[in-house]
Subunit: 328 residues, 2 copies
């Protein structure tokens, strides 16, 4: 059975939504949950019938969101540190954490280590498109990149799309300011040349292509990926706010919005990141799923499902082989 | 009276929407329109009572969207070339063009020239936020930037916000992947240090801050600005598409959407770029408004209003002084 270590204390809202997510996940999938945190607080939250799927790893400190990521290496009693140690000691197959993402990333890279040949691990996230989902990487692990890093991100993203998302021929594209080969900054132009030999590379893509369903994997540096992610969250939020203001302006609109309630709920579900689980850190020699600090139970449940799929797949072996082939 | 040269042939949809935009603008503002294009085609489109505000500058060629921007220097018979010559020869105060934006930019920079001290002109665009508009620059003129370029963009954006948008104390922010000073890539960290001395600089901002109304001017390199712009267009478009699909799924939703029609129209108006006119090319020694190739009459009308406001303002003098002060 798969063992998933869960940082039970790291999120913005404490242990409650995280434990609720674990409970929801256990109701539909079989796995062992290793809850990392203060067992005295955690145990009473677990229903009796699920106790048999749960073990506890004591950790009495939390690495807070305000701390400096690099300090986590000295904080050996924190829940995130202990969770990642479980992978290192081969007691867990995967870690899910909604804690400090920079700390999770640093720890995972340093304690679990990189897959042989990988220069830099990348955070990959799923974004909704009108037909399904687009994988975008990197979205924040590496703000300054070289073309050889982006090339590896492309290979890792392709592997994830194939092995975990089940897309047999993923369309891999490079983020640029225009579709033509000549468009881009120095970094993307150089990367384009490297990617041309890749079988599934379909060329440059613009930001709008994330959403129209024409690509499966979008490769970019972590700075660009991060600002896209946050801008898009911002637009969606602003549209909702503006529409709410308009709706309140008239009785007819308010009535109309009530009649449309189901349509709005379905739309929200489609564009809500909580439905997509967390973001895998690709390139480390294990499975680290980084969840949003504001994750609710549903987001944690989905992140656990993602960790299970990842752990059952062959992705890290595939990445290792792809990179070996690239370097030979 | 202000003379506005209008590239009447450059847009994706030919002369019709452009001339309609000129007519709409003339109905509410006094200015002279110099229509650059084939006068035999253009003249019949203008109502008799407006002819007195219009002169024609013959140009029989169009620089097409597929051509390479740098080739425009040799294409002296194109409408965009002739329009920009009118500024150079001081026959026009401003140019509005919905043609090839790269060509407009190159021509304006080379023929009109830069304001003294300006290293690189930048394209500034307005994006909607929940309280009004945010000016974002650069959005595509300079895909590879140094910190001294971004510093100048900040000064030019601040000047535009003050002189043309009428914001007395514009809040200027630097796009980064986090609000903390330590966040960013090499370029933004270095730029942050330079911007710290600027009176109206409020620090780093994330993509979402474009939309929440907390900043007036967002400074970024042209690559990042361009991908943000296109991603945001993409999200908005995808949300509309997804919602339409949901609405069609049930009779109640369809009825609700009908009742909400006015709310949707108002929302569309708020987020529609056609309402915002074009994007001024800041840093050239004149007024060049770059409009979207797909501009309709309303977008052209708004771009003309923008050109008039720009021409009546003192912005280029302010930019020149600011940069002189910076360099001394």
């Amino acid at each position: 059975m798969i063992n998933i270590a869960i940082d039970a204390m790291g999120g913005d809202f404490g242990e409650k939504p995280i434990i609720d997510g674990v409970i929801q996940a256990l109701q539909s999938e079989e796995f062992n949950a290793i809850l990392v945190g203060n067992s005295e607080i955690l145990k009473p939250l677990i229903p009796k019938e699920l106790q048999k799927f749960i073990t506890y790893e004591e950790a009495n400190e939390v690495f807070s969101m305000e701390e400096n990521a690099t300090d986590v290496l000295k904080r050996k009693e924190t829940s995130i540190y202990k969770a990642i140690e479980l992978i290192k000691n081969q007691q867990a197959h995967a870690v899910v954490s909604a804690g400090h993402s920079g700390a999770s990333m640093s720890l995972a890279t340093l304690k679990i280590g990189r897959i042989e040949g990988v220069l830099r691990p990348a955070i990959a996230t799923l974004m909704p498109n009108i037909k399904g989902k687009t994988l975008v990487l990197d979205v924040g692990a590496n703000v300054d990149c070289k073309s050889e890093h982006l090339l590896q991100f492309a290979l890792m993203g392709e592997a994830y799309a194939k092995e975990v998302m089940g897309i047999s021929k993923p369309r891999v594209a490079l983020l640029s300011n225009g579709e033509e080969e000549c468009k881009g900054n120095e970094l993307t132009k150089e990367t384009h040349r490297l990617l041309k030999n890749m079988h599934n590379f379909i060329g440059n893509a613009e930001g709008r292509d994330i959403f129209n369903g024409n690509i499966d994997v979008l490769v970019c540096d972590g700075f660009s990926g991060n600002i896209i992610l946050k801008s898009c969250e911002g637009v969606a939020g602003a549209i909702v706010k503006m529409l709410k203001i308009e709706i309140k302006k008239s009785f007819l609109s308010t009535l109309g919005a009530l009649l449309m309630k189901k349509a709005f709920i379905n739309l929200k579900k489609q564009i809500d990141w909580q439905e997509y689980g967390g973001a895998p850190l690709l390139g480390v020699d294990g499975c680290m799923i980084i969840s949003h600090g504001k994750s609710d139970a549903r987001a944690i449940k989905n992140a656990i499902f993602q960790a299970i799929k990842f752990s059952k797949s062959n992705i890290n072996k595939v990445i290792e082989n792809e990179i070996k082939q690239l370097n030979s």
